[in-house]
Amino acid sequence: MSIMTYRQALHDTLRSEMHRDPDVFLMGEEIGLFDGAYKITEGMLDEFGEKRVRDTAIAEEGFTGAAIGAAMLGLRPVVEIMTINFSLLALDQIVNHAAKIYGMFGGQARVPLVIRTPGGGGQQLGATHSQNIELFYAFVPGMKVLAPSTPADAKAMMLAAIRDDDPVLFLENLSLYNTKGEVPDDDVPAEIGKAAITRSGSDITLIGYSRMAYVAAQVAEQLAESDGLDIEVIDLRSLRPLDRGTVVESVKKTHAAVILEDDWLTYGIGAEIAATISDGAFDYLDAPVRRVAMAEVPMPYSKPLETAALPSADDVIGAIRQTLDAVGRSRNPMENKS
């Protein structure tokens, strides 16, 4: 077990997988000489050479499609799309091709492809560089969409993604790259399609993924101290397939849920989770399911506006307290005194 950043975990895992399997190679804009826009591939051009660390032209559709074609012939490309915003340029290749090729040809060709890309917000990058549009890919059968929130999961899920024979969109997050955590030394791939209960509790269930799973864990610790609440936290980890059972079993136990998401509220991932709880735990709910999501605006540049648009820990705490208050289960000392 070592303590390292999310960035380091990704870097080390890519490196070890390239040593393990000569069919694994990297493609993307500025991943070689420049070491990657977010330095995930630092030093890898020197170590593996131009054949396996390929700086591409600015041509997301072209190089993502080329990676799909290479994967059809059995290579295992790992593509970096600089941020998820630019994946829109490759949407046709990802949605109409990567996700379809196995089924459309009756199971004759596999596409063992990984597309790594960070979502974000909070970096003052404005409307076109701050989106969280993983939903576009999670919507599509044939895709697998992974969203690790911890350095340990970044490693375990990258191992799983590279070794899987299906196209995987691997969602990273700009504000998670510098977060630290324990990472096992052994190479044990995660099981795709499984959520994780990262904190066990009985009062209410918080459900998030990527950055918001990290926020959920922080909020749970904070409210345990300040309000004496026993909060259960679920990190979805896999957005497709979606582990509905883990969510529903948790809500059956806690009878209340708040969903956290960095994407927009309407039609967002949280809407699907809320519908899942409605189908599977309707009779167990003490209160309506709440969602805490980004304000429905193109992300502004100016800091106060950006901060207001992004969901924060305080927004989550507010939603939790309101949910529990509404059914007389609040343990907020301040509320109880009144």
Binding site: A59, E61, G65, A67, G106
Partner: protein
């Protein structure tokens, strides 16, 4: 001339267009050249079979035995057989949705091609692809793609994989003339040229998108010239002469085997509408008449008779055999069972995965909880 009439590089006035009289420029295969003679008669046999197969498919479509879209290779037979003859069995083919002829000429069992059109379990893609999505790993035909230009980045990536492994194979990627205007064309040819990939891009130029002509859609209507943007070698060839296409495709393939991409433009005719259901009312009577006059089956047959390679009787026999084989394919396809509905969830993922949904429409996410548990929850 109507404004809607096609205008190619030069307006196609009968007698003056470069392809107006293919027999005049057709390769003079001497009967003593036995290999060449056999190749020419083989080409003709394959061309006739594509024609009769497509006509049989069109009939099945009108009988509602084939659904969806159905785009035929009618008029492009010479281009198809000439191109396919230049490939080795170990080479890869990526093509678009007008691909029945390619599947047949690549050596896929016609019964399985027709069964795919019929949506049956014996289809080449097990009934999952249909007319636009034929695929056969063994014959290295890696699709049939329905999205215009979608195959170009994929084919480029296949060439990347060949280069990565250092094997003696190439990729051929065919597309229509309209496809040269899509971004994926530019991105892919740029990548292939930068990385010296072993691929032949082939533009099948029938001068029509659906109805939009090349000169209405391409600022440089001599499409092979686009290769110069990538310092890529290119050539334009008469697509109504299978031998000319074959020889040009061989030159292109040789360049690709040497580790450089190539752009080959093949000038063809589309004898009917864009798809089976398109009456093609946007074309003038003169243009359609010209298309018939330039029918590669007719002109190549005339050439073969003229040069003594085939007799009229042999041509009739070839035609009869093609009709019989196309009919047999339709009989086979109709007898083939539809895929079982129980296989609906078999091809979403290659690696089985937890929590993959196998629900049919209307099925609940969760079975309703048993009554006592309901009550206990309250």
């Amino acid at each position: 001339m109507s404004t809607r009439q096609r205008t190619a590089v030069a307006p196609p006035k009968p007698g003056t267009h470069q392809n107006a009289n293919p027999t005049a420029v057709m390769h003079q295969t001497a009967p003593s050249d036995t290999a060449g003679a056999k190749r020419s008669t083989d080409f003709y046999r394959q061309m006739v079979f594509i024609r009769r197969f497509e006509e049989r498919a069109a009939r099945a479509y009108t009988q509602a035995l084939i659904g969806g879209y159905c785009h035929l290779n009618l008029g492009e037979e010479a281009a198809v057989v000439g191109l396919m003859a230049a490939l080795r069995p170990t080479d890869y083919l990526f093509t678009n949705y007008r691909e029945h002829g390619y599947a047949l000429t690549r050596g896929i069992d016609p019964n399985r091609v027709m069964a795919e059109l019929f949506g049956r379990s014996d289809g080449v893609s097990k009934g999952w692809g249909g007319s636009m999505h034929m695929f056969d790993l063994e014959k290295r035909m890696l699709g049939g793609y329905g999205i215009v230009g979608g195959q170009i980045p994929l084919a480029t990536g296949a060439a990347l994989a060949i280069d990565y492994r250092g094997v003696d194979e190439i990729v051929m990627c065919t597309m229509g003339d309209g496809t040269t205007n899509i971004g994926a064309f530019h991105e892919s040819l740029n990548i292939a040229a930068l990385w010296n990939l072993p691929i032949v891009y082939v533009v099948i130029n029938n001068r029509l998108g659906m109805a939009t002509t090349v000169d209405k859609s391409s600022a440089e209507p001599e499409l092979y010239k686009r290769a110069s943007s990538y310092r890529m070698a290119s050539e334009r060839v008469d697509g109504l002469d299978p031998v000319a296409v074959f020889e040009a495709a061989q030159r292109a393939a040789a360049v690709a085997r040497g580790g450089k991409p190539f752009l080959l433009e093949v000038m063809t005719e589309r004898m009917r509408g864009h798809s089976v259901v398109d009456p093609g009312k946007y074309r003038s009577a003169e243009e359609i008449a010209l298309t018939k006059e330039r029918d590669p089956l007719v002109t190549f047959a005339a050439h073969l008779v003229e040069t003594g390679l085939l007799t009229e009787q042999e041509i009739a026999a070839i035609n009869d055999a093609a009709i019989a084989q196309a009919t047999a394919a339709a009989v086979f396809a109709e007898a083939s069972p539809f895929p079982d509905v129980s296989t609906l969830f078999d091809y979403t993922y290659a690696t089985p995965v937890a929590n993959d949904s196998h629900r049919l429409p209307g099925q609940p996410l969760f079975e309703p909880a048993p009554y006592p548990e309901h009550e206990a929850a309250r």
